[in-house]
Amino acid sequence: MSAIEPLVLGIETSCDETGIGIVRGRTLLSNAIASSMDEHARYGGVVPEVAARAHLEELQPAIERALAEARVRLEDLDAVAVTSGPGLAGALMVGIGAAKGLAVSLGKPLYAVNHLVGHIAADILTPDSEPLEYPTIALLVSGGHTSLLHVRDLTTDVELLGETMDDAAGEAFDKVARILGLPYPGGPEIDRAALDGDPAAIRFPRGLSRASDLEKHRYDFSFSGLKTAVARWIERAEAAGEPVPVADVAASFREAVVDVLVTKALAACADRGVPRLLLGGGVIANRRLRELTLERAAAAGVTVRIPPLSLCTDNGAMIAVLAAELISSGRPASTLAFGADSTLPVTEIQVAAAGRAAESAVAGIG
């Protein structure tokens, strides 16, 4: 195999997007995504079983689309890559089954990689960008995760600084949207509702931001208290017979989320002496988050990198390029014995062999 610019197909099924991406080294050839988001809408959040069923149906057409778009054949691949965690166990297992079947069929090496590190790797594929400089702080925000990382080297050294203790930021958007009677997914709806709102109208709490919290949870997040505060505020207004100022509530809620995300990310940059911040995850689509990050980072002398949205949301290309980097740095393939690990730590950038038996955790589903 060409170790310099390996041709890799990546499979991503950790949440509700079925992602197949193909890269040649650091060049993006295709990025096919099928989302089951619409099927989750009526439930107000991602239903793991619904997501897993959709992955099984979407995988093959997505692989075929990715191959056609990249104008390559499966035989041409140097390796297959797959997300083995973290994520929804039952969803991950569909991708793993497919990846193993494909790798064995083709007789190609298989790389099992970490989803969160994949989000960081997405930056490499950003068109016309200079190579990612290390070290960097990375803030990954989506419906499934909210993590702050210190990345010293993409393939060898990623440290988890903090993560959410309860809801992911994207989940908080979904839940507050529901409280406000807005549809799922909540992010874009809250954004729309907040358009004419005053972000300073209501001072909602910033989770884990008090001095006493910061001692133990300097880089951790919590959004469930914020959600409750919004619900309580609305109930109080309704009880007092006042109309609920949806725009102000939405704008103030969003400001509380974004404020805490940006504050903690920039605190990590300052504490670690790292003047670089990388954003990733679907919530990066939030305009206010990008705005406030750029504004405050500029003031703090921190350079911000934001990959295009199609590479920020879950996708297979980020998984493929992470594997391509691993291959280029001489890492051997994973053995075929790995499984899904819904809580795979970020320090495990590549899973070499058997994970912790994650399937037992979802045994009750069937």
Binding site: R42, Y43, G44, V47, E49, V50, A52, R53, H55, L56, E57, L59, Q60, I63, E64, L74, A89, G90, L92, M93, V94, G95, I96, G97, A98, A99, K100, G101, L102, A103, V104, S105, L106, L110, R178, I179, T228, A231, R232, E235, R236, A239, L336, A337, F338, G339, A340, A354, G355, A357, E359, S360, V362, A363, G364, I365, G366
Partner: protein, 207 residues
């Protein structure tokens, strides 16, 4: 040659030759761990193949616990895609029925029972083989609470199955191909809707 893959119970992979005979068959009886073992089992089966070409992949479509079931179907489809060959979808109970029939050739109808979790069994009733040599379904697969099985099945012979033969699955596929028949759709035999409730109005948190 036809490669059979089934993860409706344990993990089973097998290969049959042109004449339908079992060439190799490997299995892991554990009802969990499909994702961990599927690749190695497929590789093991391939290792015993010479230059002869695999023409089809038979995928066991269940019924079975969903999480495990999907792993085999995903692996079977991806394997077929990698080789550019078709997948033949086969109800997993057909494999159990054929294996039982090959063993005993019972004259009476019989029921294949597999564990469906939640104190239920998945039950399919068969009677002999049809003209194409495929187990003949008398009562299509249903879920029956275990407590009601005696009453519902009465004197019908019960074959409780805890593991499947992937080679038997491939044999059913071979006969379906020969007869030009389709035995299952592309969706697994889930028999249950996803466990999800449409949420009620948000709960009050209290002032």
């Amino acid at each position: 040659m036809i490669l059979g893959v089934d993860t409706s119970l344990g993990t089973a992979v097998g290969l049959i030759g042109r004449d339908g005979r079992t060439l190799v068959e490997v299995a892991n009886a554990e009802p969990l761990g499909h994702a961990e073992v599927i690749g190695a089992l497929m590789e093991q089966v391939l290792a015993s193949v010479g230059d002869e070409r695999i023409d089809h992949v038979a995928a066991g479509m269940g019924p079975g616990p969903f999480t495990g079931l999907r792993i085999g179907i995903a692996a079977a489809r991806a394997f077929a895609l990698g080789r550019g060959i078709p997948v033949v979808a086969v109800p997993s109970h057909h494999a159990a029925a054929l294996a039982f029939y090959e063993q005993e050739a019972p004259a009476q109808p019989f029921a294949i029972l597999t564990d469906a979790r939640r104190r239920e069994s998945a039950v399919t009733v068969y009677e002999g083989l049809d003209v194409d040599g495929i187990p003949h379904v008398v009562v299509d697969t249903v879920l029956v609470p275990r407590a009601e099985i005696d009453r519902r099945l009465g004197a019908l012979r019960r074959i409780e199955v805890a593991s499947l033969s992937a080679a038997a699955l491939a044999r059913v596929a071979r006969r379906a191909l020969a007869a030009g028949r389709t035995l299952a759709g592309s969706e697994p035999l889930y028999l249950r809707a996803p466990d999800a409730r449409v949420p009620a109005a948000p709960k009050r948190v209290g002032l």
